[in-house]
C-alpha cells in the first residue's frame, strides 16, 4: 500500500506539479531574456488540459499499437524513476542494492519511447528525427555514465543511492570536490542532451524537420508526451541534486535551499538553451565523444585519487 502511495503521490503527482512549475520557469525566463512578457503561471497545465480534449489522429500507414503505446511507456518510466528518487530522498535506508543502475536505465527509456513513437508514425520527418535521437543517445550516454561513476567512487563503490546520500551527509556534498565539480558540469551538459534542448535539440529541430519525432502526435497522446517531458524536467535535476548536491531535505531552511538549487539548475538550463545555436548531429557526436568523454575520464581518475 505504501508503495502505491509513493508511486502516485510522490512519483506522479508531486513530480508533475514541480515539473510543470519548472517548465513555466523555463518559458517565463526565456521570454524575459528576449524582452517579452511570457506566459501566465498555469500555462503548462492549460496546454496539457487542452490537448486532452483534442482529437487523436493515427496516421495512415502507422503501426498502430506501437504508436499508441510509446507515450505511455515513456510516462511510466519517468514515474518509476521519480518514485525511486523520492523514496531515497525521504527514507534513504529503505532501498535496494543497485537502484542507481535502475535509475540510469529508466532515465534512458523516455528517449527510447520517443524513438519508438517516431518510427511507428510512418512519417519521413519523424523517422529522421528518431534516427537523430538514437545518435544523440549514443553520444551523451558515455560521458553521462562516466560522470555518474564519480559519485559511485566517492561512496566507496556502492551502487545504492542511499549510500551516496549517506556519504554526502557525513563528508559534505560531492560537488565541492574537484572530481565532483567536474562530474556535475558534465552531467549538466548531458542533461541538456537528455531533455533534447538547444544546443542538442537536433531530433526536434522545428525549423528543419518540424518537431521531428512528435510531428504526427496529436491530442491526448501529445499531452502524455508533454507531461513526460515536464516530469523529466524535474526528475533529471532531482537526480543531479541527489547524487552531487546531497538531496533535498524537507524542513526549515533546507527546504528553501533545495528549492533554490532546483530553480538554479532550471535557470542554467534555460540560459544555455537561449544563448546557443543548434548543433548538427555529427557535431553533437564529436562534442560528446571528444572533449566531454576526456573530461569525464579525468574526473573518474581524480575521484580514484581521492580529489
Amino acid at each position: 500500500m505504501i508503495y502505491i502511495l509513493y508511486l502516485f503521490f510522490f512519483g506522479f503527482l508531486l513530480t508533475a506539479v514541480i515539473g510543470l512549475f519548472g517548465s513555466w520557469i523555463d518559458r517565463k525566463l526565456t521570454a524575459r531574456l528576449q524582452y517579452r512578457v511570457g506566459p501566465p503561471l498555469l500555462q503548462p497545465l492549460f496546454d496539457i488540459l487542452k490537448l486532452l480534449k483534442k482529437e487523436t489522429l493515427v496516421p495512415f500507414g502507422a503501426s498502430k499499437a506501437t504508436f499508441l503505446a510509446a507515450p505511455m511507456i515513456g510516462l511510466v518510466s519517468v514515474m518509476v524513476v521519480s518514485t525511486v528518487l523520492w523514496v531515497n530522498n525521504v527514507d534513504s535506508q529503505n532501498t535496494f542494492m543497485g537502484d542507481l543502475i535502475v535509475v540510469v536505465y529508466f532515465l534512458l527509456v523516455p528517449s527510447i519511447s520517443i524513438i519508438m513513437g517516431g518510427f511507428a508514425s510512418g512519417n519521413p520527418l519523424a523517422s529522421l528525427g528518431a534516427s537523430r535521437e538514437l545518435k544523440l543517445i549514443l553520444s551523451y550516454e558515455l560521458p553521462f555514465i562516466l560522470a555518474v561513476l564519480v559519485a559511485v567512487i566517492h561512496a566507496d563503490f556502492s551502487l545504492r543511492l542511499g549510500d551516496i546520500l549517506a556519504t554526502q551527509a557525513k563528508n559534505g556534498v560531492i560537488a565541492v570536490s574537484w572530481s565532483g565539480g567536474l562530474a556535475l558540469l558534465i552531467t549538466m551538459i548531458c542533461m541538456q542532451g537528455k531533455l533534447a534542448l538547444v544546443p542538442f535539440d537536433t531530433p526536434e529541430a522545428e525549423t528543419e524537420i518540424a518537431h521531428g519525432v512528435l510531428i504526427e502526435y496529436s491530442g491526448p497522446l501529445l499531452a502524455v508526451y508533454r507531461l513526460m517531458k515536464n516530469m523529466l524536467f524535474f526528475a533529471l535535476p532531482f537526480f543531479i541534486i541527489i547524487i552531487y548536491l546531497g538531496g533535498l531535505r524537507g524542513h526549515g531552511l533546507h527546504l528553501l535551499y533545495g528549492a533554490l538549487e532546483y530553480v538554479g539548475i532550471v535557470a542554467l538550463i534555460t540560459v544555455i538553451r537561449n544563448t546557443n545555436p543548434r548543433l548538427r548531429i555529427d557535431q553533437v557526436l564529436r562534442f560528446f565523444w571528444g572533449p566531454m568523454t576526456v573530461l569525464a575520464i579525468i574526473a573518474v581518475l581524480l575521484a580514484l585519487g581521492n580529489y
Partner: protein, 146 residues
C-alpha cells in the same frame, strides 16, 4: 463550459499557412511573435506541425494550386479547430478578384471563424481579432464548437 474548454481558449497553438500571399500579411503576423506584441502572453504558440495546431491562420488569395492542399491541411487538423483569415486577399481575394487563378475566396473552401481585414492588417488588428474570437467562443454552448 468545462475546464477543458477553458483551457482550449487559453492555449491556442497556431499554424501559419500562406496560400499565395504577397508576403506582407505573413510578415505582419510574424510581428505578433516579437517582443513588442508577444502573443505568448495569451498562451499562443507557433507550431510547426498541423497535428499540434488549434488555429489555422491563412493569408493570401487562394489559388488553384492551393485549394486541394488547404482542404487536406484542414482535414488533418485535430478537432476542435478554428480558422482565421488574415488580410484582404484571404477575405475576398482583394486585387486578385478577377484573376484566372483565384476562382474562390477562402470561406468557400473551408469554414472561416474570424476575418481580419486590412492590406496588410496591423499586428494589433490580428491580436484583437483572435481575442474577439476567444470572447465569442466563451459564450457559446459546447455543441456548436466541433
Amino acid at each position: 463550459m468545462g475546464i477543458l474548454d477553458k483551457a482550449f481558449l487559453k492555449s491556442l497553438w497556431v499554424f501559419h499557412l500562406a496560400t499565395g500571399s504577397c508576403n506582407n500579411c505573413d510578415i505582419e503576423f510574424l510581428d505578433c511573435l516579437t517582443p513588442r506584441h508577444d502573443i505568448e502572453r495569451f498562451g499562443m504558440l507557433l507550431v510547426g506541425s498541423i497535428k499540434h495546431a488549434d488555429v489555422l491562420l491563412v493569408t493570401g488569395a487562394v489559388n488553384r494550386q492551393c485549394i486541394p492542399r488547404i482542404k487536406r491541411l484542414y482535414e488533418q487538423m485535430p478537432k476542435p479547430r478554428l480558422v482565421v483569415a488574415i488580410g484582404e486577399c484571404a477575405l475576398s481575394r482583394g486585387v486578385f478578384m478577377h484573376s484566372y487563378n483565384c476562382p474562390l475566396p477562402l470561406d468557400h473552401v473551408i469554414p472561416v471563424d474570424v476575418y481580419i481585414p486590412g492590406c496588410p492588417p496591423r499586428p494589433e488588428a490580428i491580436i484583437s481579432g483572435i481575442m474577439q474570437l476567444i470572447e465569442k467562443r466563451k459564450g457559446q454552448p459546447d455543441e456548436a464548437k466541433a
